[in-house]
Symmetry: C2
Subunit: 254 residues, 2 copies
């Protein structure tokens, strides 16, 4: 008898930013599969089992979860943020695509969550108020040339750009290189938002101009949002500056 | 004495997809400002006041909310989806940018929500598992030439493309034109997901190939997600096909 596989996201880390349906899935599951720090965010009962894995073994983790579900368990695969954005939902689909036929009959329920760029944007104002894109800066996942090409086309298109996985010990120079490339296409005053751990006690939000944006501010828990030429800053006495991208561009029908 | 202004999103319409912090903001507010159908999604107490407005008067609505908050009320501006994505957060920031000084001192708290593309993606599989962009197809907001240019650059960049506001009575031809344009840049088999009212009782999810994608399936409550050349379909016996975009592209470092 086939069981059920939930794929959920914890949001950026503040438990108040999880949805009711995600909390209900956590309550219903018997087995939890995920990277340790994400599992640590859940408040589980003693009868609920954790199967902790390393952050890099996504496909193996997805397969283990599908095997347990195919055997009848109610399994919960846990991502940070939204499971569909640079996270476990794609790994689960890929495992089903390449796995045994039994995995295709597992009752698969993927639940949306608050992805980092939305949480960071809410803290900063409304930088994603107009067209935008999300790019993972990890060249483990794709060639660096592809990333450079995407950054250039995104800037030329006028997209606000949200960068996931901006930096890590193994990838120290990529974010600086991305800023350098974008300086050729965007105004020097373009706001760059560094949003670290949005909504968590160790949250840190900083806004710098592209001309002197400092990549060393970012770490693995940071989502970086780079404005478009339309993005504006509103200064507020005693408060953080607001960064927003207007809904309208000159030349629309209204 | 200045009050507080919450800017929240209801998510795509399923109340189980709202976060705990958003529900707490709704509980705390005295006055609610928004488009009627979004306000109707909330379960308010008799002592909580609704200020209903038309969908198009976003800036006026934002100003009315800021005025009440500046006078000391606890006000909640209500969007569908995430308030930061093509919604009220940008209108509130714009009103502050152009309004009286008192509005800059209002305690402004913007809360992220589940935006339509995340809810639709979760229903379909993991189409946003790799780099993607979000474009509003409304040429009320920007010139149509700009939209065409963005679609072309997004396709050339290899982004999965989420289209918001794909169609309306006043904008009947734009979605068909967008498909036509994208057929010049993407494989004929590229999956197109029509996600209507994801998570609501009247939800309808359909997947078609780009070569014969039918724009008349979409309505104002639909988010359309167009795959990239990498996006794959996994057929499942007795279940909806899964659509996903793999995390890896050939040529990465791992």
């Amino acid at each position: 008898m086939s069981g059920r596989l939930y794929v959920i996201g914890t949001g950026p880390g503040n438990p108040e930013q999880m949805t009711a349906e995600t909390l209900a899935a956590i309550d219903a599951a018997t087995d939890f599969v995920g990277y340790g720090p994400y599992l640590d965010r859940l408040r589980l009962r003693p009868d609920q089992l954790c199967h902790v894995s390393d952050n890099r073994e996504e496909l193996g983790r997805a397969g283990a979860a599908l095997s347990m579900a195919a055997d009848g368990a109610t399994v919960c695969v846990v991502s940070g943020g939204d499971p569909g954005v640079f996270a476990m939902a794609a790994a689960v689909c890929e495992a089903i695509d390449n796995g045994p036929a039994a995995w295709r009959t597992v009752d698969l329920i993927i639940m949306p969550g608050i992805t980092a760029m939305l949480a960071v944007a809410a803290k900063a104002g409304a930088p994603l108020g107009h067209d935008f894109c999300a790019i993972s800066l990890s060249d483990n996942l794709k060639p660096w040339d592809t990333i450079e090409n995407r950054l250039e086309l995104a800037a030329r298109a006028g997209f606000v750009i949200a960068l996931y996985n901006p930096i890590s010990r193994a990838r120290p120079w990529q974010l600086g290189k991305a800023f350098e490339l974008l300086r050729d296409h965007l105004p020097t005053t373009t706001p760059v938002i560094f949003g670290r751990a949005a909504g968590r006690p160790d949250e840190r939000i900083a806004v710098q101009a592209l001309s002197n944006a400092d990549p060393s501010i970012a770490d693995m828990a940071t989502c970086v949002i780079i404005g478009s030429a339309e993005t504006r800053i509103v200064s507020r006495p005693g408060g953080l500056d607001l960064v927003y991208t207007p809904r309208f561009m000159a030349g629309g029908n209204k």
